[in-house]
């Protein structure tokens, strides 16, 4: 996809007025938050597992070069091939090369955000190879020529009647009068259509949730079984994964698996957790004849040793966006980047630079829910703040914001003046609030009051309240 993060404000305004989208977004809160909470509550060790999952990834990141070498050794020992891609372009070239050597005409794909990041489908199509997305949500958005609006629920921005319309438009070989009013009918139809594609495909491409150094294994976690059919039925299996997917051992994988599905969909385990090691063995009746792993850097190595390193712990569960009030309001497409929501607001500037993406780390109320639910305990708000600082230092922030921040800083650094200004300003605002106790418009704050009222201040300032409470505490002898 074309990076369109600098249009975030315009896209968000449009999204707020899109009735279909707003209806569909209701499913995010309904579908994810309660389920995650229930799954977390049912496991007393959940928070201890989160701590351990964080520690495992921190250990990996501190030894990433060594674990990558160990992983590569074990993939090769099992008969697989490892390809190193510094950039998205390198990865595209490597995958195309593998497909062309296999004389591939069609490739099936399991759900993979990393292949979205490297825009693999467009590259294959441009070179005469047809990519077929097999995850139901990915299949739907491929039919629509869209990209995922959520990292684990790519079609969450759509309603079933829209899907029905797409299936009728594309599946013209099926009877017109068929009943597609229920999701189950839509799923069955996709299942039938895609079954044939698995068998016809020459190459199956998947991502990976984990790469296990100890055994040279790639792991995918799915619910539909499409990823498994993709990688089992193709003659060649290509895994595209970024370098930070490494975990040391099977035991470490088990630790993170216990927090992954619970945080993502509220399941104890996803239906299929598949560990793949190398190609078909001599006595194997099925499986791919070749097994390739493309290890992608694409900017991640540059995040190591910086204040953004913690972001590399991310396991792409989607909990941060599922709990984000901004994501709930505007959906994933408004962000204009491959990765939406809070994790995208941190990762996208790291991968694409802050110049084009500065609006993303600003698209947060800093409510902190993303960090509160992150299974890997990634301090997302803190890192968004770091990006805002980078943006300010580099004079990328809009002029009005810069002047506003400067003016505030002037007063904030002069406490007496600040208090004087506030003690004067408060009664004025209070007076202006009138009977309704609300201000409908304010000079220099039209951007705020255009969409909502400002509540008029009541009583004293925060500092006055604080001083009085402290005095009371002292007085009562505490």
């Amino acid at each position: 996809m074309q990076l369109a993060a600098k249009h975030f404000k315009a896209s968000a305004s449009k999204a707020l007025l899109d009735a279909q989208l707003q209806k569909a977004l209701g499913n995010v809160e309904k579908g994810f938050i309660g389920k995650r909470q229930k799954a977390a509550d049912a496991l007393p060790e959940f928070d201890a597992l989160r701590d351990n999952a964080r520690d495992i990834k921190n250990h990996v990141l501190a030894h990433l070069d060594l674990y990558l070498e160990e992983y590569e050794r074990n993939v090769v020992a099992a008969g697989g091939h490892v390809h190193w891609a510094e950039t998205a372009e390198d990865a595209r070239r490597i995958v195309l090369d593998i497909c062309q050597k296999a004389n591939a005409r069609t490739v099936t794909k399991g759900k993979s955000m990393i292949t979205e990041e490297i825009a693999l489908n467009d590259h294959l199509t441009a070179n005469g190879i047809e990519p077929v997305e097999t995850d139901l949500g990915e299949y739907i958005i491929q039919l629509r020529g869209e990209y995922p609006s959520h990292i684990i629920a790519p079609a969450v921005h759509l309603n079933k009647d829209q899907v029905e319309g797409d299936f009728r438009r594309v599946h013209t070989h099926l009877p017109e009068g068929r009943d597609l009013s229920e999701p189950v009918a839509l799923l069955s139809e996709a299942r039938e259509v895609l079954r044939k594609r698995y068998f016809a495909a020459d190459v199956g491409i998947t991502g990976a949730n984990f790469l296990i150094a100890e055994t040279g294994t790639s792991v995918i976690v799915t619910n539909e079984g499409n990823g498994d059919l993709t990688q089992t039925l193709g003659k060649v299996h290509v895994v595209v994964a970024s370098i930070e997917k490494i975990v040391p051992t099977l035991e470490d994988t088990a630790q993170i698996l216990r927090v992954l599905a619970r945080s993502a969909t509220g399941q104890d385990m996803s239906v299929y957790t598949t560990f793949s090691t190398g190609p078909k063995r001599p006595d194997d009746p099925d499986g791919p004849g070749e097994y390739h792993v493309v290890l992608l850097d694409n900017g991640r190595s540059a995040m190591l040793g910086t204040e953004y390193q913690d972001m590399l712990r991310c396991i792409r569960c989607g909990a941060c966006m599922n709990h984000c009030p901004v994501y709930h309001a505007v959906g994933g497409h408004a962000y204009g980047s491959v990765y939406p929501g809070p994790m995208g607001a941190v990762l996208t500037p790291s991968l694409n630079g802050i110049e084009e993406t500065g609006q993303l780390p600003n698209a947060s109320t800093f409510c902190g829910r993303c960090e509160a639910v992150c299974p890997m305990r990634i301090p997302l708000p803190k890192m968004m703040r770091h990006w805002r600082e980078r943006e300010f230092e580099r004079n990328l922030t809009p002029l009005t914001s810069r002047y506003g921040i400067r003016a505030w800083a002037f007063f904030a650094k002069r406490p007496r003046l600040y208090r004087l200004a506030v003690s004067f300003g408060m009664p004025v605002l209070s007076l202006l609030g009138g009977k309704s106790r609300r201000l409908h418009s304010l000079p220099f704050a039209g951007g705020w009051t255009r969409h909502r009222d400002l509540p008029a201040p009541e009583g004293r300032t925060f500092l006055q309240e604080w001083a009085q409470r402290e005095a009371l505490k002292q007085g009562s002898g505490h």
């Binding site: 139901l136 079933k160 055994t215 059919l229 104890d268 239906v271 090691t277 190591l304």
Partner: protein
């Protein structure tokens, strides 16, 4: 410079390590050697009978059906009964697992067994699991001629036979079994952990069973 050297070089430069020093190497070697287990939920810390019951209850909670039989000789009758109950033809796809050689097939005269990998035309497939994980009601299946991987995914109904004594509390116990069977660091081509029948929530976040994999998962636990 190759992509490999470039990527590894960039990682080392960012981390300000010139090359793999002895201390870092030792930390990696010890983790790979000792495979520390971390936090194991107490949920499945039960005597064997309790783990078996928990496994059956969890598997059922996640949408599988579970039957328990007393002997391998009763497996064929259970498979036939399942097919009849679901109005399925008396045909199954099955691999070459020696544990299922003498499963009473001779007693079910009408049941047709097709051997080898699935070609997508099978309504029901039978596999033998390596282990069950009580913690989450999960089956562990290994690839190979005994239990071709395609049987796990292509048939509409997947029937999985599991020895009661192979039900373990947690994933870590299955890793121990694997290392004992295959050797440390060695994996089968595919290890499938399966928890319930396939499903999708991609349309309006409504969970529907039977996506691309089996619509139904039936587990037969043999005492």
């Amino acid at each position: 410079m190759s992509g490999r050297d470039t990527v590894l070089g960039k990682i080392r430069a960012s981390m300000r390590v010139s090359g793999p020093d002895a201390e870092r190497k030792a930390a990696v070697a010890s983790r790979l050697r000792d495979t520390p287990t971390g936090v194991i939920p107490a949920r499945a810390d039960l005597p064997a009978a309790g783990q078996q019951e928990l496994f059956c209850a969890m598997a059922a909670q996640f949408g599988a059906s579970v039957a328990r039989v007393n002997d391998y000789r009763e497996v064929a009758a259970e498979v036939s009964a399942y097919l009849r109950a679901h109005n399925l033809p008396a045909e199954i796809r099955i691999g070459a697992d020696p544990r299922l050689k003498d499963a009473g097939w001779d007693l079910e005269k009408n049941l047709e067994l097709r051997h080898g990998a699935s070609d997508g035309g099978d309504l029901a497939g039978v596999s033998h699991a390596m282990a069950g994980i009580a913690e989450t009601g999960t089956l562990a299946l290994l690839s190979g001629p005994d239990n071709p991987t395609t049987i796990n995914f292509l048939p509409e109904h997947h029937i999985v036979v599991l020895r009661e004594s192979d039900i373990k509390g947690d994933m870590e116990s299955v890793w121990a079994m694997l290392r004992e069977q295959k050797g440390k660091g060695v994996m089968p081509r595919a290890l499938n952990l399966v928890t319930g029948p396939s499903r999708s929530g991609d349309i309006e976040q409504t969970i529907i069973l039977g996506a691309h994999g089996p619509r139904a998962l039936h587990i037969v636990v043999v005492a």
